[in-house]
Symmetry: C2
Subunit: 158 residues, 2 copies
DNA sequence: ACCCATTGGTTCATGATTCAACTTATTTAG
DNA sequence: CTAAATAAGTTGAATCATGAACCAATGGGT
């Protein structure tokens, strides 16, 4: 499993598992993207709608929203601009910190959310959740949680 | 778990598992992207190098390569053009089917592969493989395989 | 009170991705 | 044998993402 130059290559089973994970993650986001397309939304749009709609007063600070959705500030800024043009969201400035801005869900954004969510959930079920037994899903969750935590900690460094 | 409009919403555990999967998949690709950056490669570049270097005569038909890497023909075409400009790969036309083209790994591409692969493997280990026990990894692989298969079958339709 | 480092957010330039339109070669049906 | 359908790839325009540079407000420290 180890070669003269000191590299610990992946075993066959490790390779297969890794490739499967990669494939699922790509195929799945691609599929969900396609399922949202008829509604004129991307996964990114949708995730922002979710975050805002679950927040106090349907609003979040730009920074917090960026952190919650794992995007860069720059990307979020563009994203919100697009959604603002689509009438899903509006910017509103923050009293307590005059640098800050809120992204606020509009009524149209809220309505869109209500209309689209059931379809999206159904898609997540069809292509992922319902293909796994409850125990498999729990095991998967348990395995992946430390990975997620590790990655969060290592974010933004070499 | 089911509401008046007939939507089967996700249970809390399902939600958490799903979000964790999503987060891992995004954080992980982002991290691996960053680990490749010092070598001037993206994950896409790398995956193409892998595919070519494992193929007979270090060459593949464009279509096959597109299928293997789950990309559209258009995207692959642009991608190969970039890599061709970087000297990693070259196009060569196919005798048996005059519409067809091969993407061929250049010597520089091969050397790049040899140099980068150990670092990439190490990154995959550090951020994923080595964070899971062998049994967890096997279970994850077993759970995900039917999902991957389902998604492959459903590709390209509603 | 003042300077300076930090934080919150945008903007600009560049590169990547997507989708539809297009060309050329191959296959199939009649 | 030929016409229509299909397959292999490319191209171009529009959209989206990334990273660095930037501006403005805040918060300490001295």
């Amino acid at each position: 499993m180890e070669t003269e130059n000191g590299t610990r290559w992946l075993s066959d089973e490790e390779q297969r598992a890794w490739r499967t994970h990669l494939d699922v993650s790509r195929l799945l986001t691609h599929q969900l993207e396609r399922d949202l397309q008829p509604f004129g939304l991307t996964m990114n749009d949708y995730e922002i709608l979710v975050n805002l709609s679950e927040s106090q007063d349907r609003r979040m600070r730009m920074s917090d929203l960026a952190a919650a959705t794992l995007q860069s500030k720059s990307r979020l800024s563009h994203q919100i601009t697009r959604m603002e043009n689509g009438g899903l969201v509006r910017r509103e400035n923050c009293e307590s910190d005059r640098r800050g801005l809120y992204a606020v869900l509009t009524d149209h954004g809220w309505e869109t959310m209500r209309k689209v969510a059931p379809h999206h959930v159904q898609a997540v079920r069809r292509h992922f959740i319902d293909l796994l037994s409850a125990t498999d899903l729990a095991a998967l969750h348990a395995s992946l949680t430390p990975v997620a935590q590790h990655l969060r900690e290592h974010r933004g460094q070499a």
